[in-house]
Symmetry: C2
Subunit: 162 residues, 2 copies
């Protein structure tokens, strides 16, 4: 049995106690941008409940055009106003460089990705970079309440850095 | 007090019972790509535990260059092998068109986004489109175990469509 099949069995159990549907717009008007890291259970870390906040995640928790797209839809069409950014300690993005990652792909496939891998060397600086990209975007109307944090995978605590 | 401040209070409670750190690579070797929708608690829906799977999320749960970037890092550097895609019923992406969304932004800001909004009109078709984009990417080495689902926000159940 694949892991996916195991998770589908979990889903059948989840549905037994499920009460829906909730409304489409996030009830707390918050959007979160976090790293995809397996140790970041965003619902647990923030005490989120179903229906409260949009959750956007990717490798690093960085802000590229796709996060701008998601945040623009979140704010313009679904009414969110606050943004919470979460990077974390022991992040995989600290362990390689864009150049070496893209070189390895090119050596193996013959093709060099046209996108940046978005690796970084300083966690706090990259949180500030992500905040700056959001504030610089002409497509995100509400940038007064953008706050950036680093999650400590050892303690479970968030530290504010931007 | 802002909603963000309330969530930080929740975080302090979360950290009290926290036992870390877990290893960086996802223990179940799975990556999930899901919509950012506030009603999709991916950890609950699949019965995920901390440390098991990468979770990638955006408006629609679609696959653009940034999801290819995240999946390439997930598989090439952190060892994941299965991919689970999750769209859902009552999705905001069904309620507008790219043209009207981008026209509204252009009318307000004077700038038209250079990116697609990735709205869609058929849920199942867009899940299949996302699977197809992953399988067509030269940068994702493992595409044998890519499965696509629609989450029903009324029942809590996943339906497999691709």
């Amino acid at each position: 049995m694949s892991v996916t099949d195991e998770y589908l069995e979990n889903n059948a159990r989840y549905a037994k106690d499920f009460s829906g549907p909730l409304p489409l717009p996030p009830s707390r008007q918050v959007a979160i941008v976090a790293c995809m890291d397996a140790r970041l259970n965003v619902y647990g870390i923030l005490g989120l409940r179903e229906g409260e906040a949009h959750v956007i995640r990717n490798a690093g928790g960085v802000v590229t055009d796709d996060e701008i797209r998601s945040l623009a839809i979140s704010q313009r069409l679904l009414g969110t106003r606050e943004i919470i950014l979460i990077h974390h300690t022991d992040c995989g993005m600290l362990t390689f460089s864009d150049d070496e990652f893209k070189r390895a792909i090119q050596d193996e496939t013959g093709l060099k990705p046209a996108w940046a891998a978005e690796a970084f060397t300083d966690l706090d600086e990259d949180v500030r970079q992500s905040v700056a990209r959001i504030k610089a975007s002409p497509f995100i109307p509400h940038t007064d309440a953008v706050r950036g944090f680093v999650f400590d995978v050892g303690t479970g605590l968030l530290h504010e850095v931007a």
